[in-house]
């Protein structure tokens, strides 16, 4: 088994999940409570990575982080390294790629919270942030946990996008799924089989936990 690749994937999945937790929660909460007319456009953008071919997303990210784009140039000027084919570039790609897998369950969970409770809290003079932390968040923890697990698992299994923007660099951008592809190409089937088995077991475990958590709250 390729432990180095497992480690890279774990780190990537971890950072992606943390980022999605921090950015996704406010976005999901806003989507759940807002009555803005054009909300559906934001919702469409959020789920876009779910149906967009990974190659399309990968292609756009490759262009966006490349040395010719404003983003790539700014990053290189600030950090002194190129964003393309780096762990950070992959991280950015994964956040976009797994966005719906975090924000969708978050939004559904928040939408399931009785609005009266939230409004009652507001009327009692509790600030919006505190209402979120003490009312909405505890009532939707199962959905939030689902989003966290799904975005972690989804990032772990990411292939097409990583293939396009990662560059298969051992220890930096060679993730588990790329490692499996690489080992199959090297006709090293036993190593590929081991890593595949680990991914299969992990995905099954993650989904079992999500379903268990969601059953308990019903």
């Amino acid at each position: 088994m390729d432990f180095e690749a497992v480690w890279v994937s774990m780190q990537l999945a971890w950072w992606t999940t943390v980022t999605l937790f921090v950015l996704g929660l406010p976005l999901a909460y806003w989507l759940a409570v807002t009555r803005w007319r054009l909300k559906f456009l934001i919702e469409a953008i959020v789920v876009l990575p779910m149906i967009l071919p990974p190659t399309v997303l990968g292609f756009y990210i490759l262009i966006a982080v490349g040395p010719l784009s404003p983003l790539g140039q700014t990053y290189e000027a600030m950090v002194g390294r190129s964003l393309a084919f780096s762990f950070q570039g992959l991280w950015l790609a994964s956040v976009l790629y797994s966005l719906p897998f975090a924000v969708r369950p978050f939004t559904t969970a928040f939408a399931g919270v009785d609005r009266h409770l939230v409004e009652a809290s507001w009327c009692l003079g509790v600030s919006r942030l505190r209402t979120f932390l003490r009312v909405a968040f505890p009532l939707s923890w199962a959905g939030i946990l689902t989003g966290v697990i799904l975005s972690f698992a989804h990032t772990l299994g990411e292939f097409g996008v990583v293939l396009m923007v990662g560059g298969n660099i051992p220890g930096v951008t060679r993730t588990v799924s790329i490692s499996i592809y690489d080992e199959v190409q090297a006709v090293n089937y036993s190593k590929a089989a081991m890593t595949s088995l680990v991914l299969l077991a992990f995905s099954f475990l993650a989904l079992s936990v999500t379903h268990l958590v969601n059953r308990k709250t019903l």
Binding site: Q11, W14, W15, V18, F21, L62, G66, P67, R81, S82, A84, F85, S86, F87, L133, R134, F137, P138, W141, G167, N168, I169, P170, G171, V172, R174, D182, V184, Q185, A186, V187, N188
Partner: protein
């Protein structure tokens, strides 16, 4: 519920701190005398052996190799992919990088001449040794694996050989394209294709040599596969990359290349 939330609030930043510490560790490791090599797929097993021998000579230098098709690397390097040295399966891609100012003009080197073989699994009914190029037209052949000619030099060589030996038009609908010459070999090994045109180096590779039989395509049936390399202008470890280049060009490196079926300029 509040307790659970508090636990999450504590657990997340703690784990984040751990993960960050490891990230920093990874970044440091990448900066300690590591040569990052982009290597053409036909060198898959050859380069492994070269790196092993090189490490015995220079234990302080770490070598990280990524394999792929040369054209794919060319596209990645045009976007400044973080490699120090590039071993291409042709010399055209390295020269293009030099022309674009992405590689050092004085760093270009020719390290081998590649050869092409027609490869079938060991237990295949096709008598490839006797039939030569006509083996592609055997009745049991449904799929023929080659590397993608659009970005793999060995794919282009395979196409040129099929054209010059007059079978291309008859077989072109049966071609399946691998991402690199290594994937073309894997297609045949896994049974997806009955026959493939791959590099001599892969046919002789430890992972494949006892799994198949081959016929060597006459070297004048396709453009000479001059394999060249280059050091990228952003190479962090210039001396280490230079050392690897010299090692490949040295007698020791050449002996390994020769054992893996490569020839050399002027032979």
């Amino acid at each position: 519920m509040w307790n659970r939330l508090k636990k999450i609030c504590v657990a997340f930043p703690t784990l984040a701190a751990f993960a960050f510490a490891d990230c920093a560790h990874l970044a440091r490791a990448a900066e300690q005398g590591t040569v990052r090599v982009a290597s053409a797929a036909d060198l898959r097993f050859t380069m492994d052996e070269i790196v092993e021998a090189f490490r015995r000579e220079r234990p302080a230098v770490d070598v990280l190799v990524t394999y792929g098709s040369s054209g794919n690397f060319y596209a990645q390097l045009s976007n400044r992919a973080p490699f120090d040295i590039f071993f291409s399966a042709d010399v055209d891609y390295p020269r293009r990088l030099i022309r674009q100012g992405l590689a050092l003009a004085d760093s270009e080197f020719l390290y081998a001449v590649g050869r092409l073989v027609i490869w079938v699994p060991r237990n295949s009914p096709i008598e490839v040794e006797k039939l030569g190029m006509q083996a592609l037209r055997s009745p049991s052949v449904r799929r023929i694996a080659i590397a993608n000619p659009r970005h793999a030099p060995y794919g282009r060589a395979a196409e040129a050989a099929m054209k010059s030996l007059g079978v291309f038009d008859q077989v072109k609908d049966q071609l399946v394209l691998g991402d690199s010459v290594m994937q073309a070999a894997q297609f045949v090994d896994s049974g997806g294709a009955e026959i493939g045109i791959i590099s001599h180096s892969l046919a002789l590779a430890p992972a494949l040599w006892d799994k198949g039989r081959f016929w060597e395509v006459p070297i004048d049936a396709y453009p000479r596969q001059e394999q060249g390399g280059v050091i990228l202008s952003w190479a962090k470890e210039r001396p280490a990359a230079d050392a690897l280049r010299y090692f490949v060009l040295s007698e020791g490196g050449k002996a390994i290349l020769r054992r893996h079926g490569f020839r050399f300029q002027g032979e």
